[in-house]
Structures are given as structure tokens and as C-alpha cells.
Symmetry: D2
Subunit: 345 residues, 4 copies
């Protein structure tokens, strides 16, 4: 199924950015577990700083409601449907580009594939859909935490600017409230907005407390599954496991083992596709967003050369908004791997 | 299924490096197509330079035989079973390490997961299994070629040494026969062997002639599928699509469109997870192999600190042997995506 | 996935009978196809005579709305979400049995499995959910018809009463409007209602115009798939393909072949799991419904022996209401098999 | 995948009756479990009485060998490959019918679908393949038995002859060794062979000791899965769950519940697709085999009317040989359902 992921607990997402609603359907989940709209709402709101501060001005309410699969706040074992209403449908932002293919976007490939041009701001390809992954993924957040697993994301680079490691200690919330006071970041972001430009970014994720033996060779190794799902996030270009193995020889990167544990973790917690109990280290590279308000050469549906300019709201650094999405998808991947391992115990 | 891949035509591989046989089972293939053992054998032999020249001295015959699913050399539509006999079973190479966990290898994680130590030279986790992927994948090679698709792999880096671009014009065979005469490469490889070291490598794959519209958003995007399968290859650490997006802003990497085509291809042929008709550009990073004949600290099954030394044959640059494996898996991925697209025509 | 079916075009259904909504999500469908709520609404309304005439008095509006996956009435290729609001939520009907396990129903097994008792009239196990299968399945109805395929269902037996074959010529609608005038049926149904009883039934489905070569041996034979999906319908107990093979020898049931075609069709259009071009003949047996207003011995959640009496509305012959459900699921199965065959052309 | 079944532990079968070998590949199985060729061989031999006594004279050795996935007789967690060599390849038996489509067989439909005529005695469609299901399924037999589950098959009818219930107490082996002494059966079988005829049969399976809560609504109900797999067996025409619900009203078939348990078991151990702890009751109807040595009208590949006569060995009652196949597939289904339930504990 093209629009589902998860081997045991399966998430299906649906909805277009400028359609009526977006949402997620969770199948294969436990019964008799408390889930509350409040908790999911809180996590969705966590997504907002990443979408609005410095970023796009689009103001969504993202009000989520659970419609099926629960009774008196507990799951029944039946599929759980969550819906988020789209309030902020400013199709007008995008009207002037309706007949143009925005370079770097899905417009051209979606038109060729689906013989169809849904110009309403990206439609199904829009990053708005990722709200569904956050809403559904956070349902597993506590289950993961209760097993001692902590997922933390760090912004390593914005454009060419390397983020000072001392900021890596901050929780992501505090990091963002302090963003304004980190001068270099403030400057680089503002320059971007003023020059109608956007920047690449590198996000690092470290997962602590993960039990060993997760992952299923040969073709469902944990790094295979993680890359499959995380590279489905818009604007991702690259994924890397462990610390940088470029230009290295084996003496430089060997992880020796003592009876007190591993002496290092170059491999980033994964050996032969299975977790070894050490922290997972994953790095993802995001390209700069392609919607800017600068002029850019493209063609329209009649294949005529034109110059395009997006008047809509755009994101100077789209990688930042991806952080809650990455974490949510990781909760889903991890709970699935943990349940899969349980089968054989 | 942990040991299968492919959405329509499915490949299952099996067998251990020091077991009796290894092989592949192909299900969902066309009927009435000629396939010959000779052709598969030829492709398997192409794998040998990558495994023996400069590399491991292990000398496999890799003689393949088709046992089911054909009649008078044509496929019947039933599953096709290919078997390769293991002749070169030198378990003795590995005996002294049987109770030790070789760092960087699957030993430790496989022991934890399967409660079982198959010390016969890596067993199921060994790179030997990749011969099965080559044998099965090449069945689709001609189908892909007949559609005008050409898959080419290039070695970009060995250790810190960047390979001169002029060599990128060589077919891979010619490249390898000339390797000996490329002094820098010769030197770096020999140094490695003499110092019992091994090197990382970067492989670039360029795919020309691929039709647009391949790939299925949101979770079966073509980059998702490719990363899922290619990162299942031993020693892979990173995958990257398109040209380097690090430290960039959008002006530097925009692919403008004219009615004569795209003006550039930074995105490497993929937009929003769907091919756009331009060449696919994929880069994979391999870590240095962990089996060297240098001493390395580890523990044995009784959790006692010891020093380990592999007397077996090892590979100074494991990325090189992966090239035919990458190409074979790509044939399988591409034929599946092409057939999937066919459904909707 | 427990709550999805369909190999290429996948339907997921969700919702409980006395929850807020029920619905279906269609993934993998064509783009650029017209679908309208009116057409789906019409088909849902066709379901009503089967649910209300003679049958349960529960009066649902079954008003369907499409929320995603369309733009200007055409499919975009993205998942299509249909929702049906539950208006007629008379939980009070069921209150007096809330702590009792209704024999023959899902109550007992669902309680054991999900550790949870959703007493709201059957919840997820209720036949109400089948409205989702009708709503989604009819989307494929025209596609099937345009290929010359006609699916027709006939009621062969109600209780012990065999329906006169002459009525098999009627379209189902006409059959039902005439039901009142078919005395034997009228009598048997009324007796049922008066004595608070319910009856078994046998439904025969004949599919004409189906192309040969549909079905995928060995484990996705068309009879395997059909039985898998149709036996998921509530109250089904048996499925049979072809004409009755009981107590037969081979001379009695051989289908000889002439160059003008088959001389008979005992095998009901399927040979070795693949269609042969002849009409498919399928027969399904439904058990009598278990909810009646007669007293029946059972236990409550405290495992105390009690007598139960359902005051809610019940169905004297549940097999009748299944007819549109059977047909809808068959449209889904058939379109999937036809698309699967297309891959190999 | 067309040639695999099983949701967690997956079996893939392959091979043609007159090809080199047949076999099975088991993926997703436990590690560290003892399996021995002897045990599998013993179970395969159990299959022989069902295939040779009274039945076909084809004498296979059915010698099985395990090639991968084990080390020192214990499973490693890697895929397990079992191969059975075909010794008794009398293609000559079938030569005279090579250009004819044997009515009632797969010949015609396989020719249309695969554009290919593998006349070697049924090829992939032959019942010989079922040996693979027996070989793989018996691996799970002990696991099931250790959970207190007993699977027993009974022959209820051969042709029109109803088997006296007193024989239902015999284990199947003893039943068969006594077959010769059960006069009615002896007579009916001999008449068959003399008149070159064959008979239908009804097999009843009763499964005791199965835990409740197995089965996954809505589309992976246990009856759905069982029917899907069992109807893939050659010559099956019908499957029925529970006791006969034909011509019944609800008073006749209600299963009341007391705190001491159910008062009856008309539903045959399944409610709403989930086991309720009572014995499962399944009945399967087999058609008479179509290969007889009587003349029968058919066409050849040139579409010319001819008369066909099979000189090969044929089976007077093909349902009998299916018994070990049914049981093996049930072990596979049950272990999968049990493991699936384990996920949620």
C-alpha cells in the first residue's frame, strides 16, 4: 500500500493541504490503552514552532479529533481514525502559479504520473500531510519512553553554518525559544528571508536506551526500514548511520569490545542491521526549499517558457520543520521493531 | 518477509557462506521468457574481479543451476529456483575466532538476537549471500536494457583517494583490468594489505534512460525503496540522492525547466519521490571491513576480554565487491517500479 | 493489515455501529477518474431494502461524503476517504444486555481478545460496518461493467424454503418489491417475526463475462481470495464453488471441451484456481442471526448464569442484507485480479 | 507473493511434478530450535498411504533434505530450505495427452494464462507439490502439540457412501490399515478402479485444545485465513465451518453459555472470526479427480475436437490424499495465529 507504513501497527495517512481535512488511520494497535486527544493535540502544537517561528507564516489550528476505535478514552482494538480540519486554505496564494510547474517541486512529476494538476498548494505532496504522521506517531511516544528509549534530534547545520555543540544539550523546545538569541542563526535566517532564499540543513538524531536485537536481516534491517520511512519526508536528500566513515581506514573506526561494553560507537548502535544496545546515531540532510519568492525559470502546462514567482508563504529552512516528523516516524518504526522481536521471545 | 524484496516480482534469498548451498527464489515473474544458466553464470563471473582482484583470496566457483520454473529454457510462470553450490568452505580459517565476537561484525548482534553462534565465517550475515542477489537480479537486466535503461556504477573514492574522473568513462570491466596500472590505486591497496588494514569507499551510480513517473508516494517513493534495499548490503553506512546539497542555498541548486528540458539535474532525477526522466544519481558510502589480520580487542562468549586476530581472508576495500550487487538490486527495483506503473496505464 | 483487503487497490474500513462515523479509505486507485457522491449514495440506498424491508427496523440515513483524494470530482491518485455519519445511535436498545454476553455474537470472543467490552450494539463487529464495503466497492462497479462483467446474486433458500427458480430472473430490486406478493416468503418471514425467531439462508452469485486467466496459483487462486473476503462477512458459515459435487463420481461432473466451448460448467468457471471464461458460480450459506427477543441462557461479565433477552431490533434473515455487501466485495476482488493480470500483458 | 503463505512464519513452495526437485523455503522461523530431517521424513512417509494405498500407483521416495538455515541440527533464524528430489518422473505416462487439454485440469487455464503448455503431468498444478506443504508444515506440528492442540481429520464420505462414525475413533493410520477390512469402502474403491471412475469425498477436521482469541477481524478472521489456504488445495470445491446450518432457524442452532462453559458447539469453535476455546469444526468437499482412463471429449492445442484418454496413474478418490496436506497447512496457520496473538500480550 503506497500510503501506509508499519509492519505490525500500520499507519495510513491521507488528505491534501488545501482539501477539507487531513488525517491518519491506525490499524493493529493494542486494545485497552488510554489515548487522549489532549495528548495528541499537545504534540501537534509542539510542531508549530517548527513551522511558524522563522518559518512559514501559515497559521493552522491543527485541531485533531479521534473518531473511531476508542470507547471511554480507551482503545478497543479496532482501527483508530484521527482527523485534522484544514482551516487555513488560502488557495489564492497559489493561484498565479496554477498553470506553472514550480521547479524542485512535485508539480511536474505528479502531472506526468497522475495526468492531473492539483495546484492547490502542493496537494498531496505538500509537507502539510506530515502533521498526520506527527498525530499518529505520538500515540506510541509513551510506550517507547516507558521502555527507557529517548529520541532526541539536534540541528547540526543550517546552510553553511555549523551549530555550536553546546546548544545540543538543550531540549528542542528550549533550543527554539533561544534561537532568537543565537546571533549567527538569527542573522543567517533573516538574510535568507530578505533575499528570498532558503537553506539546506542537517539534522542529527540520537536514540538512547534502545534494546539490542531489533532489526530483521536481510531486507528488514533496522537501517533499511529507517531510511525507507525517513527518506519519504519532503526535501530529504541523504541519510547516514553512525559517525562519518568518509576517507577512513579500519583502524580509525573500529569499535572494540570489552566486558564492560563497547569502547566506541562509530557504528552508531547498529551492526549488521541489528541494534547492539548502543545509542543509534542517524544524520539526515535536507535540501533548501524550492518555493521562494524570487523569480525562477520554468514552463507552464502548455510547455511555454515563463518566469515563475511564488507569492505564497515559504520556508527559509524546511529541515527545521521536519524534526517532529522524524521523531514521530521513529516512534512508529521502533514500536514495530520492538513488537516484532516480542514474537520470538 | 525478512528475506524477500520486490513488490511484484519477489526475490527470496537463502543460504550461509559456509553451508551447503546458497540461492534465490524468484516469484511472480513472467511466463514464456527465455532465461539461461549461461547468462546468469556470465554475470556471476563478472562478480569475481570485484571479489578476488586485490580483494579476498577466497576462490568460489559460483556455479549456478536453475532447478524449477523453466521448461525448455523458457519460464513457465512458476517460481524459479537457482542454486549455487559452496565449494570453498574453509571453516578452518575461522576456527580460532569461533568463540570470539569479531568487532564490527554481526557476531555480537546475531548472538544476542538468535541466541546462537554460527561461527562459520559469518554464516547468513556474510557478504557471500550477495551472490544470490546478483544471480537473480541479472535475470531482469535485459528487460531493463530493452527499455533503454543503462545502470552504471563508478568508484568515486577509495579511502581518502579520489578517483580521477577520466576513469569514469571506462566500463567497469576495463576499469578493473586497468586498476593495476593506476598507480595511486595500486599503491593504496597494497599499503592496505601490507598493514593489514582496510578502507572505506564511495560508489556513485548513474541510471540513464529511465522513464518518468516511477515511484509511488508517499511511502513507496523510489528513493525510499532504493535506500531500503541498497542499505541492506553489508558495510553500507550512507546513501545520498542527487548532487551534494550540503551547505547550500536554493539559488545554488535550483533545477530550472525550459521547454527543451531541465537546465540542470541537482535533484538527480527524482522529484517528490518520482522519477522525472533525468538521470538518477545515487551515491553510497561503505565503511572499511572489520575483519583484518591485525589484533583487535574483543570478548568471547564467556565475556572474557581477549585479543582477536582473524587469520581468514579479508577484503582491503569491501565497497568494490558491492558494485555488481548494487546493480543487480537496482534491476530488481526498477523492473518492479516499471511493472507497477504499467497497472495504471 | 487486519482491516484492509485488496492486493493492488486496497480498501481499509473503520468505525463502530454506535460510534460517531463509519467509513472507508481507498488507496492505490487510478487518477483522473470521475467519482461522485451521488453514485455512491445511490448504491448505499440500494442496500436499504435489504436492511429494512422485513428486516431490522433500524433506520439509518447512510449519507456518504468524500473528503479526500478528489479535485473537481476527479480522483487525484491520492487516497480517497469516504465517511458515513451514524445518526441512529440507539444505545438504549442494548443497555439491558450490556453486561451479558449475547450468545452467537462477538461479545464473548471480543471480550476475551481485546479485554474490553464495547456493548454499544456490536461495535466493530456489527454488520453496520458492511456499509463501508458497499460504499467503497461500488466505485469499481462501472469499471467492471465496462469490461462486460455482470455480477448477479440470487436468494436460493430462506430457512427450509427453496425459492422458486422463476424468481431468479428478476433483478434483485424487482425481486424485493415483489417479496410481499410471494406468499410463501411472506408467511415464513412473518412467522419468524412473531415467534422472535430467525432463519438461515443460501445466496447464489453468478458472474458472467469474466475474462479467463484471472487468479494466481498457488495461494492467490481466485477461489482462495473470494472465500477469504466473503467469509469475513458476518454470519457466513460456508462457501461453495461450482455446482454441488456431493455424492458424485467423475462421470457425473465432467466438463468436456469442444472447439465451440465447454459442454457444461460444473466447475463454475474456475479450473485450478484460474477463471476459464465461463460463468463463476458461488454459493454462500448464512446462519440465522443470534440476536432475537426470545430468552436465551448466557452469562454476564461476572460469570453468573442469567437469562438474556435482546430488546433491540433484530433481523429475521440476516443473509438477505448481505447481498449488496457480497457484490461490492466482489467488484473489489475482480478489479484487483484484472489489474494484476494486466501487469503481465 | 503468489507462492507463499503465512503472516509471520512464511512458507514458499516451488517445483514441478516432473521437474528436477520440489521443495519449500521457511522464513521468519525461530532460532535455536531442533529440527531434524528424520522427523520431516517420517511425516512425509505418513503421506504415502494416502497416496498409494488404493490410490495412485506412483511410487515416490520423497526423500527430503535440509540445505540451509540449520547448524548442528538447530535453526539459526535464517531461512530454511528443504528439497525433495523427484525420482519417479514417468513423463511417458503423459505423452499421448501432451497436446490435449485434459478436462477438469489446469491445462486449459494454465495455457491461456501463461501462454505455455507444460505437459509433464500437471507441472506446477499437480498435487505432487503438496508434499512441500507437508514437509514444511510438520516443522510446526510439535510446537502446536506442546500447546495442547490436537488436529484430527476424519473421512466423512467417499462418493455417496457415508463412513460409519465408529471408525472416527481410529487414528488415521489405523483407519487406513483397516480400510481393506471395511467392506463397503473396499467395494466402492474397487468398483471405481474397475470402471475407471473416481469419487468425491468429504473430510472433516476437528481441532481440540485451541486457545481462544485467535483470529483478527475484520479481514484476517481465522475462518477467512483457513478457507484461503485450504481452498488452494487441488480439487477442493467447498468449505464449511461449524455444523450444518442449512435449513435452520436460530432456536435449532443457538449455543447457550453457562458459567461451566458453552452448552453446545454449533458454531464450531469460532465466533465473529475469533476462536472461543471450543473445538474447531471444519468440513471440506473434494470433487472427483478428472484424470481417468475413460475416454472423454476435449480439444487439442490446434482447437480440434478429439477424444482423450489418460493412461497415467490416477486416483479414485483424491480427497483421501489431501488429509496430511490439510493438517500441515493448519499447523502453519495455527502457529501464525498464535504468534500474532502473542504480540499483544
Amino acid at each position: 500500500m503506497n500510503n501506509s507504513y508499519g509492519e505490525i501497527i500500520k499507519i495510513s495517512t491521507f488528505g491534501e493541504s488545501h482539501g477539507l481535512i487531513i488525517g491518519a488511520l491506525i490499524d493493529g494497535f493494542f486494545s485497552n490503552l488510554y489515548i487522549s486527544e489532549k495528548f495528541i493535540q499537545k504534540n501537534l502544537n509542539l510542531r508549530k514552532p517548527f513551522t511558524s517561528l522563522f518559518s512559514t507564516q501559515r497559521r493552522e489550528q491543527d485541531k485533531v479529533k479521534i473518531f473511531t476505535g476508542i470507547f471511554k478514552n480507551k482503545t478497543t482494538g479496532a482501527p483508530v481514525l484521527m482527523l485534522i480540519k484544514n482551516n487555513d486554505k488560502q488557495s489564492s496564494d497559489y493561484n498565479n502559479i496554477s498553470l506553472n510547474f514550480r521547479p524542485g517541486h512535485a508539480d511536474y512529476t505528479y502531472f506526468l504520473k497522475y495526468k492531473f494538476r492539483d495546484y492547490r498548494g502542493g496537494g498531496r505532496s505538500s509537507a502539510r500531510e506530515t502533521a498526520c504522521r506527527v498525530a499518529s506517531g505520538c500515540v506510541f511516544k509513551n510506550l517507547i519512553y516507558n521502555k527507557g528509549v529517548i529520541v532526541r534530534s539536534y540541528i547540526k547545520k543550517i546552510g553553511f553554518l555549523k551549530i555550536n555543540f553546546k546548544y545540543w544539550n538543550y531540549t528542542l523546545n528550549r533550543f527554539f525559544s533561544n534561537l532568537l538569541f543565537i546571533n549567527e542563526i538569527k542573522d543567517i535566517i533573516n538574510n535568507c528571508k530578505n533575499s528570498c532564499n532558503s537553506l539546506s540543513s542537517e539534522i542529527v538524531i540520537i536514540i538512547n536506551g534502545l534494546e539490542p536485537s531489533l532489526g530483521d536481516p536481510l531486507y528488514k534491517k533496522i537501517n533499511s526500514t529507517i531510511s525507507n520511512y525517513l527518506l519519504s519526508i519532503n526535501a530529504t536528500k541523504s541519510i547516514c548511520f553512525g559517525f562519518n566513515f568518509k576517507n577512513k581506514n579500519s583502524f580509525q573506526v573500529k569499535d572494540e569490545i570489552k566486558n564492560s561494553g563497547f569502547t566506541s560507537n562509530n557504528n552508531g548502535g547498529i551492526l549488521a542491521g541489528i541494534t547492539n544496545g548502543q545509542p543509534l546515531v542517524i544524520k539526515i540532510l535536507f535540501k533548501p526549499t524550492s518555493s521562494t519568492s524570487r523569480k525562477i525559470k520554468t514552463i507552464n502546462e502548455k510547455l511555454k517558457n515563463i518566469t515563475n514567482k511564488t507569492y505564497g508563504r515559504h520556508d527559509p529552512c524546511v529541515g527545521l520543520r521536519a524534526v517532529p516528523v522524524i521523531e514521530s516516524m521513529l516512534y512508529t518504526i521502533l514500536i514495530n521493531k520492538i513488537l516484532k522481536k516480542k514474537i520470538y521471545e
